[in-house]
């Protein structure tokens, strides 16, 4: 087992200007499960491939344990990877696919057979060992790809959106299986996904990346409660946090035409002017007294255990257009509102986040 460290690692693709990965610094502890998450095209795959040795590192270093692996070919890095489309060898059966790396490592035949059996048992693939990938379902293929990684008992697992080709239900169950398996095997893992739910549920820690730049690395709870900036705040959580343009005046926060009082901990910033207000859907509740942010209901999403109200803040004239901001509110399923209703919303105590309007950096309360 080993730690993994990215030190100022950058990748600039030939004939491009921007760094696909921009001075990435990331430490993954021994046996830790770190998830790299971010929107599509932000450089997740590139980071992973740099660690794998499939993509050169243009600046900086990458360490596995104490060894700088920059320049080493993938075969010398003792890593295993699960690809997004699995990349199973179509001409080999399941057993051969899983055993291929061991064969390349010149292990004894009997040892290969044992290890493949073992992995197949864990992954419930014993019946399919003779089949070619083409004869397997999507879920089975995914498990073969996992199996190919685990038979090797490598220093590091790399997984690039391994669940994205599965249907929603299978994705949820496989999610927990992978997390369990990883903690059982205790292999250091870097896992890439664009799905923040996946990231939050699976990772020991989650690294959020945007446009090649790492934004924040932390345990899921901390990311949710204390996002470093408005990007992370908006990216983590579903439905996403409401981010509203507002102004801090002396007497409180002006959101649209509603003045909301500034929480106690933010009193030192009274009067600073424009900010972005972050309100999680659960940070809002319907105000019974009609005092609060006024909005018109556009849609109610009933999820059984809870409901989400999608509403639009109305302007001074009480009208809404497509450009007026939308707001999502989580309510109990028993609340009865319907599309077109006018509601007023109250911000729960101490649940408002404030971000610098320019830089997006979160303004910390005292």
């Amino acid at each position: 087992m080993a730690t993994v460290t990215f030190k100022e690692a950058s990748r600039i693709y030939p004939k491009t200007e921007r760094k696909a990965v921009d001075r990435l610094n990331l430490e993954i502890g021994d046996g830790e499960f770190v998830v790299l998450v971010g929107p599509s095209g932000c450089g997740k795959t590139t980071s992973l491939r740099m660690l794998a040795g499939l993509e050169p590192v243009d600046e900086g270093g990458i360490f596995i344990g104490d060894q700088n692996v920059v320049g080493l070919p993938p075969r010398s890095r003792d890593i295993a990877m699960v690809f997004q489309n699995y990349a199973l060898y179509p001409h080999m059966n399941v057993a051969e696919n899983m055993g291929f790396a061991l064969k390349m490592a010149k292990l004894e035949k009997s040892e290969i057979v044992t290890r493949v059996r073992e992995a197949a048992k864990i992954l419930d693939l014993e019946e399919y060992l003779e089949r070619k990938p083409g004869q397997l379902s999507g879920g089975q293929r995914q498990r073969v790809a996992m199996g190919r990684a685990i038979v090797r008992k490598p220093q590091v697992f790399l997984m690039d959106e391994p669940l994205s080709n599965l249907d929603a239900k299978l994705r949820v169950s496989t999610r927990t299986q992978i997390a369990e398996l990883q903690s059982r095997l205790g292999v250091t893992t870097l896992y890439v996904t664009h799905d923040q739910v996946e990231a939050m549920t699976m990772g020991d820690r989650v690294a959020v990346i945007k446009d090649g730049v790492l934004q924040q690395v932390d345990v899921p709870r901390a990311l949710y409660d204390a996002p470093i900036n408005s990007f992370v705040a908006g990216f983590i959580g579903s439905p996403a946090m409401n981010l509203l343009d507002a102004t801090i005046v002396e007497s409180g926060v002006q959101i649209g035409r509603t003045l909301v009082s500034l929480p106690q901990s933010f009193h030192q910033i009274a009067g600073i002017g424009p900010v972005t207000v972050g309100l999680r859907p659960e940070a809002l509740e319907l105000a019974s007294d009609g005092n609060g942010i006024s909005a018109i209901v556009k849609l109610v999403e009933e999820l059984g255990s809870e409901a989400y109200i999608y509403a639009q803040l109305d302007d001074l004239a009480g009208e809404t257009t497509v450009t007026t901001p939308e707001i999502v509110v989580r309510v109990a399923p028993t609340v009865v509102v319907k599309s077109g209703d006018r509601i007023t919303l109250r911000v729960k105590d101490d649940s408002m986040l404030l971000f610098d309007a320019e830089s997006g950096v979160r303004i910390k309360g005292r």
């Binding site: 030190k7 100022e8 693709y13 030939p14 001075r23 610094n25 990331l26 430490e27 502890g29 830790e32 491939r49 040795g53 499939l54 993509e55 050169p56 590192v57 243009d58 600046e59 900086g60 270093g61 700088n68 920059v70 320049g71 070919p73 993938p74 020991d204 820690r205 790492l214 934004q215 924040q216 690395v217 932390d218 345990v219 901390a222």
Partner: protein
């Protein structure tokens, strides 16, 4: 265990990029070298049997028989040879007929077959395409039979035209047409199959959309299908042009079978052969080869760069 985005860690500046960047993510360093290894055998063959003879032909065409630089004299001598112009005229005439037939008949047939039921058209395609197996010397022989009025299954046609003997059929002025017929007989079917394949590549929805837009079969062939396979037509024409300039076996064998009815310097390639082996002047022959190469090169270059048919990325 929280690791915030650490500030720049100095040192460890790129020991990376030993072998430069790799565009496709092949591992660094080894890829470039291994690329050379993979293409090596082919490159050797290319050098020996593609580049060397080309260079040699150019060299020969520019030097004198006994040695010494000839500059353009081999070319002028070849061009002034009384057989040179006729040979190129023959081939030009042949090409004109063959290319026009390709551009019209092959397309019409492919479009017709494409409008038939799949099974039926498959049968027709097979029948059209099989004579392709008789390319080369075999097709010349077959047509020697076909054009002999005394035994041809087409003798009624030949007699309508007033030809009672093969000598009358194989008049010099007929030869370009006859060679074009041979080329069409062996080559057309294959191209029909290919054009049909290209037509099949057109998405069904597109043709259905045209139908909904009110196009009848004829209009959809003319306005939708034809423009979409145009590049393949260009491809076919240029390949046929480049190949057609190289005519050799047809006039050679017909000449053989008719005891001199066809000149043995009928086509440029025959002339080059004659000058090389009978006149023993490889330098002048090389001048003709180079002329043919240039024609082929122009065709090839046009095809590769103007039609954008080929991927080089």
């Amino acid at each position: 265990m929280t690791v915030p985005p650490v500030a720049a860690i100095p040192g460890e500046r790129s020991r990376a990029r030993r072998g430069g960047r790799s565009e496709d993510g092949a591992p660094i360093g080894s890829s470039r070298l291994s690329g050379y290894v993979f293409v090596s055998l082919y490159v050797v063959l290319l050098a020996l049997f593609g580049i060397a003879p080309t260079a040699y032909a150019i060299y020969l065409s520019l030097t004198k028989v006994g040695g010494g630089i000839a500059w353009g004299s081999n070319f002028t001598r070849a061009f002034q040879d009384f057989r040179f112009l006729p040979a190129f005229e023959h081939v030009a005439e042949y090409l004109a007929i063959w290319l026009i037939a390709e551009a019209t008949l092959i397309l019409v047939l492919a479009l017709m077959l494409h409008s038939l039921a799949r099974r039926t058209s498959a049968a027709f395609r097979f029948l059209f395409y099989m004579p392709g197996a008789l390319a080369g010397a075999a097709s010349v022989l077959v047509w020697l039979f076909m054009l002999d009025p005394t035994l041809s299954p087409w003798h009624f046609l030949l007699s309508i035209l007033g030809y009672a003997q093969i000598d009358l059929v194989l008049q010099p002025s007929h030869l370009p047409l006859i060679f074009a017929i041979m080329a069409f007989w062996t080559g057309a079917g294959g191209w029909i199959v290919v054009m049909y394949g290209a037509l099949n590549n057109i998405p069904d929805e597109l043709l259905e959309a045209a139908k909904l837009d009110g196009a009848n079969a004829f209009q959809s062939a003319l306005r939708i299908k034809l423009p979409l396979i145009k590049k393949w037509v260009v491809y076919m024409l240029i390949l046929s042009f480049a190949g057609g300039t190289q005519l050799f076996v047809e006039p050679q064998l017909v000449g053989q079978a008719t005891a001199g009815l066809v000149s043995n310097t009928w086509s440029p390639n025959q002339l080059a052969y004659y000058i090389a082996f009978i006149n023993d002047n490889f330098n002048e022959a090389a001048a003709i080869s180079v002329t043919l190469l240039v024609l082929g090169l122009v065709g090839a270059t046009l095809l590769v760069w103007r039609t954008k048919l080929f991927e080089i990325n």
